[in-house]
Structure formats: structure tokens, C-alpha cells
């Protein structure tokens, strides 16, 4: 569960990225966070993942209070999240399997746990036949599936996808979104940050629209269809 209460964020250069954002995402939800470039979407993600500190307000992430979280606790908080990036961020020198095992070993998993978990996750994202391939040998859509598998491999309670379809064609984007929807149906909370209007409108999900550092609307259904930001 994520809660942002009246959150303000001002960067060192004086940019006011968030101006009183309040947001609640409950366990099991699928939420789109939409808005144009510079609206504050990425700042919300960075605050949730504790990459940056907030200026004012309160943030709770999966039971961790980020207002007074110690640096030692941050890794444990991050283990409750699975993060997916627009540019996949896979390690080119490692195979698909190694990319996943790398993420598992990073949180101290044993070899046995790695061997048991990875085939299951690869099957879930439809890449069980490509475990030995290197990222460079995969299409963009497949690479993003690997990134999703990596985000899932440590069994997080929430997936955060930051522009996951930004580098993909419409068909691959739809496939990725359907995969995320399936993951959500299996019980994982999903937060997708995007500015792709058509994609958002194809899913009947909760859409939170942010612009100029403020939440402009929060509702279910194709947000871009009905109202104008």
C-alpha cells in the first residue's frame, strides 16, 4: 500500500516538482499515473523508491514510513517493490537467466531458490525458451519482458513501471500492458507511469492524472477520453 499525504518536492535548483500531492494506492490495485513530460510523474516514482527525499508531507510505502526511514532500511523497503524502466536496464554481458539470478542474489537468495524461482517467472512472461540468450539477441518487447521478469523475481508486493512501453511499437506495448494486467490479477499491485493516451484508454483501470506538480484527476476509465487536462 502506498500513501502520499500533501507531498511537496522542491529540487536544489529551485524547481517545484510536486505541490501538495495526496495519493493512496491499495494492495491489489492497478493504477495508471499519467501526465505530460515535466508534470511530476517521475518525481513521484523517485520519492516512492526513496531515490530522493521529500521536502514536505508524508509518504508510506508497504509499511515503511519514508519520512524517517534509515538508510539501512531503504534496501529492505525496495525489496517490496519491483521496478521496470523504459530503457529496460538489463546487463548486456549477462544472459536472461543471469540477469534474473543477479537480481535474486542481490537480495541474498540461495542457489536453490534461484533455480526454483527463475523458470517459473520466465514462464509467466513467456520467455522460458530464451533463458540462455543475451539481451542484445532479443527484440525490444522481449527485453521488456525480461525486465518485468526481473522485477517479479523477488516476489514484490508492488510493481512500478516507469514508461514501460516508451521504446516499443503499439502492438508490443499492448502485449506488455496485458502482461502487467495478468500480473495484477495474480495479486501484485501495479503502478504504471505513462503518457500514452491510447494505451491507457484501452484498459478500464484507475487513472491518476498529474500536471504541474498537482493531481488533476483520479478516477476509473479512460481518462484521456473523457476530460481534458
Amino acid at each position: 500500500m502506498i500513501r502520499l499525504i500533501d507531498v511537496y518536492k522542491e529540487y536544489d535548483n529551485g524547481t517545484k516538482a510536486l505541490k501538495g500531492v495526496s495519493l493512496r494506492i491499495d494492495d491489489g490495485e492497478f493504477v495508471f499515473l499519467v501526465g505530460p513530460s515535466g508534470s511530476g510523474k517521475s518525481t513521484v516514482i523517485k520519492l516512492i523508491t526513496a531515490e530522493i527525499a521529500l521536502t514536505e508531507g508524508r509518504i508510506m510505502v508497504n509499511g515503511y514510513n519514508l519520512n524517517n526511514i534509515s538508510p539501512r532500511q531503504v534496501p529492505y523497503m525496495r525489496r517490496t517493490l519491483g521496478i521496470i524502466f523504459q530503457d529496460f536496464r538489463l546487463i548486456e554481458k549477462k544472459t536472461v537467466y543471469e540477469n534474473l539470478s543477479f537480481a535474486m542474489r542481490a537480495v541474498g537468495a540461495t542457489n536453490r531458490e534461484v533455480r526454483r524461482r527463475i523458470p517459473y517467472v520466465l514462464k509467466l512472461v513467456g520467455l522460458e525458451q530464451k533463458a540462455d540468450r543475451y539481451p542484445g539477441q532479443l527484440s525490444g518487447g522481449e527485453q521488456q519482458r525480461v525486465a518485468i521478469a526481473r522485477a517479479l523475481v523477488n516476489n514484490p508486493s508492488m510493481i512500478i513501471a516507469d514508461e514501460p512501453t516508451g521504446n516499443l511499437d503499439p502492438q508490443r506495448s499492448l502485449e506488455i500492458m496485458m502482461l502487467l494486467e495478468r500480473i495484477n490479477e495474480l495479486g501484485t499491485t501495479v503502478l504504471v507511469v505513462t503518457h500514452e493516451k491510447n494505451l491507457v484508454n484501452r484498459f478500464d483501470k484507475r487513472v491518476v492524472a498529474i500536471e504541474n506538480g498537482r493531481i488533476m484527476s483520479d478516477g476509473t476509465g479512460g481518462y484521456y477520453n473523457g476530460e481534458k487536462i
Binding site: P75, R78, I83, F102, A106, V107, G108, A109, N154
Partner: protein, 296 residues
Amino acid sequence: MARKFDAGYYLSEGVHSIFTHGFMSFAAVCMIVACLLIMGSFTLVAVNLDKNLGDLENENQLAVYIDESYTEEKARALEPQIAQVPNVADMTFETKETALENWKEKYSDVELMDDLPDDAFRDRYYVHMENIELIAQTKQDLENVPGVAKVVAAVEIAEGFVMVRNIATGVALVLVGILLIVSLFIIANTIKLATFYRREEIAIMKMCGATDGFIRWPFVVEGMALGLTGSLLAFFLQWGIYQLVAQNIVKSNGLSLMTMISYISMIDVILPVFCGVGVVIGVGGSLIAIRKFLQV
């Protein structure tokens, strides 16, 4: 699920990383070798200078003249009292007759000396000190021993030696310290360059929830391995260079008076010091290098 300390994983990741980033590892080892050779060579020069200065110091002795009224037997009986004086290392007794003979032998070409009476000289002790810096105090203490008529000591020369030695030691310590710090930063920058290629891996690990310790350990292993490899290479190279220089000094006319300490006799000091310094700059460099990338 999480294990606290996975030594096998850290070891395999650290060693694996040395080979996957072969060129940077090679560069880091070269830097460690270069730094250790510079520091080692300078230290060895300082140690040899110190030894030669020490030898010269040891030749500096006090002449303790015994009262003329003392018979040889009484003069010899003073030995325990002189030995009890603080800072006295050892002494040799010389009778006035032997002193006269030695004098005549030394100045045989001076005719005037032929007519010297047998009692022209006094019985004396030649005293070596444990610490030449205390020469003035020792001279005074010896003068206070009953039966001692006079003590002759080259205080100025001795103090001159002490000053030269102290300056040489001070300069050596400062230079080695500076070189050590410079080496640390060179290694840190070399490893930082290597780490730069891996910042993405570190960022991914951080995002997955890896602790700083977990990320740091393979780099520590890597730094330690690079440091040890560099130390051993530097140790053997230093050996070769030292032998070459020592041989040339022995052959040279101007420097043949210098005595060189053998490298083998210093191995038990040089090897641990090289390994220790290598590991410290390897591990220290790694930690400095990844510090920036851990702040995500």
C-alpha cells in the same frame, strides 16, 4: 530468503570481475606496482642511508681518562662503575703503555714523540653509547665517576650526526606518506574508471534492494586481489632493481665505501609491508571508487 554474508558469492563475483574487466584490472595492477616501486625504492635508499649513518655513529666513542694517581689495577677496577652509567653500551680498557705505543705507531714520522716519557699517557676506557643523542649527558655522568679525570667526547660531531639522521628520517616519512596518499587516489581513480562501466549494475542492484555491504564486498575482494597481485609483482621487481643497484655501488669507485643491506635479510619486513600496503591501497581505492555510486 536473505543470507547475511555470502562469502562464496563475493569471492566468485570479485574474481570473475577482474577477468571480465581485464584491461582496467591490468591498469590497476600496473598502478599499484608503480606506486609500490617508487615508495619501496625511496624507503630502501632511506634505510641504507640510515644504516650507513648508524655505522658512522658507532665509530663515535668517548675517551674516559683515569686519574694519574690510579694504578692499572685500580683503573681496571673502575669498569663496573663505568658500566653502570646509563647509556653505556660497551667499553674497552687501554693501559697508558699501550696508548703510548699506539700513539708512537700512529705518529712514527714525528721525531719529537720518540722522547715521550712512559707516563705521558693515562689509562683510559673507550666507551660506546647505546644512544648517541644522549652523548652530553653521558659525558657528564662519566665525569662524575670517582677516579675519572677527564672525558673527551666529540659532542658537536655526534649532534651533527643525530641531526642529519633525524632530518633524513623525517623527510623519508613525509615523502612516503605523501606517496601513499597519492597512490591511494591514483588507484581510486583507476578503479573508479572501472566502476564507471558498472554503475548500471550497481544501480540495478540498489533498485532490487541490495544492501550497500552486499554491493561493496565483491569490490573489496577485487581490490584485495589486485592489491596482492600488484604487491607480489612489485616485490620481485624491487628485488631485481635493488640487486642491480647494489652491484653497481659495490663496483663503483666513489660509492664503494657504502655498505648495502642485503635484500634477502629484509624480506621478512619488505614482503609483509608490500602486501599490506598493496591490500590497503587496493581495498581503500575500491571503497573510495564505489562510494559515489552507492548514493542512489
